[in-house]
């Protein structure tokens, strides 16, 4: 859970920028620390606007909020991306595509759930076509709440994710591997026979949980 401690929101962007560079004091070895340090500053975000939150991705990526300062930049294909931003409600039809995109991404990979509707359905809590809890279907590393969250909130979410990466906290893709049966059962429950093809997670069939 991410809490405010020193400053609030965009007032401390600069501080956030600098603070996460000098992470230390965790139990990682030197090499792991170096890897985590590299990793946290090069987050490629899959450009998949799954919902309305995608509209705030543009200000985030362009001149005003300029997420590139934090090493965040868009990637066009899942195989080159590190972060999947689920920008809002997921219709069933999109859920299938999202799962497939997620499984195609290469580890280490992270998921940010954007907006209240990923957390509990939000405005669409009684809609027949949107899922209510994103973390039942794919593992979520960070939630950013709001309807819709401001770009500053997004930046805070990303910085919090970077701090986690630097600290070496186990992240979602490890959870996904460990609990694949549970996730697949949940997915099957809403998608029915309409599941994405199995080959997108062939490690599961090849040699069990790696």
């Amino acid at each position: 859970m991410y809490h405010h401690e020193h400053c609030e929101g965009f007032q401390c962007e600069q501080q956030q920028l600098e603070a996460s560079l000098a992470q230390s004091g965790n139990e990682l070895g030197a090499l792991d620390r170096l890897m985590a340090w590299f990793r946290q500053r090069s987050l490629f975000v899959l450009a998949y606007g799954t919902g309305c939150g995608a509209i705030e991705m543009r200000p985030l990526m362009t001149s005003r909020f300029d997420a590139e300062r934090f090493g965040i930049i868009g990637a066009a294909t899942p195989r080159q991306a590190d972060v999947l931003v689920i920008s809002g409600y997921l219709a069933i039809k999109t859920l299938k595509r999202v799962i497939r995109s997620y499984e195609q991404m290469q580890a280490p990979k992270y998921v940010i759930g954007l907006g209240s509707c990923t957390i509990n359905g939000g405005m669409y809590w009684d809609s027949y076509n949107t899922i209510k809890q994103l973390d039942h279907y794919i593992p979520v590393d960070m939630y950013v709440n709001g309807c819709m969250p401001r770009p500053e909130a997004l930046i805070e979410g990303f910085v919090a994710l970077q701090q986690r990466i630097a600290a070496g906290t186990p992240s979602g893709f490890e959870r996904y591997r460990a609990n694949i049966d549970w996730y697949k059962a949940n997915q099957r429950r809403v998608l029915g026979d309409n599941m994405p093809p199995d080959y997108t997670y062939d490690w599961y069939h090849a040699g069990g949980v790696a």
Binding site: K93, D126, Y128, K132, R189, V190, G192
Partner: protein
């Protein structure tokens, strides 16, 4: 607007008519006359555009109220041509020969209300994928029940308060305070 238009529509049985402002009107005809009226309005009365086909489910009367919203080229008048269609599988003829955009409107009608459209080339999944339940826009489809059956809702926060309970308590406190004040006055 209707005063000028209606005398020109000989032979059509106008079941119901409403005028809304000077530029908007709705007329209702029997389903059998719908397409001849639409054709006539398009050919000779300047209602060249089909803007949408709206459908309202009047479950208690057992009918779908279909509204074909037509506009003139100058968009100075809007006419809704309505008809009632039985809810239990009564088929509707396609309007694609008159307007090509009717294709998507009718696909939506088919998917959301389950209205069979005769003569339509591409009925099938439109917005939903592999939907086997009741068509979702029909009144008897209870979306909340479907949600409760299909999805797991996240439990509330531990400190989550029932708003109604809080309001009730506040009201009672107010009442008690007022009663006490009254008691003092007396």
């Amino acid at each position: 607007m209707l005063d000028a238009l209606l005398p020109q529509l000989h032979g059509f049985e106008i079941i119901e008519q409403t005028q809304r402002g000077e530029r908007q009107a709705f007329v209702r005809v029997p389903p059998a006359q719908l397409f001849s009226l639409l054709g006539l309005l398009k050919q000779s009365h300047g209602f060249v555009t089909l803007t949408t086909i709206a459908c309202a489910d009047w479950m208690e009367d057992g009918v779908f109220g279909l509204t074909y919203v037509l506009e003139t080229a100058e968009r100075d008048r809007v006419l809704g041509v309505q008809t009632h269609l039985g809810r239990d599988g009564a088929a509707l003829e396609t309007a694609i020969p008159l307007w090509p955009q009717a294709e998507i409107f009718e696909r939506e009608l088919h998917e959301m209300f389950g209205i069979p459209i005769s003569g339509h080339p591409s009925l099938g999944d439109f917005m939903l994928e592999g939907w086997t339940h009741t068509p979702p826009m029909r009144r008897e489809f209870d979306t909340l029940k479907f949600v409760q059956d299909t999805y797991e809702m996240r439990g509330g926060r531990e400190d989550n308060q029932d708003v109604r309970e809080a309001i009730r308590r506040r009201k009672e406190a107010k009442k008690a305070a007022a009663a006490a004040a009254n008691g003092d006055a007396a």
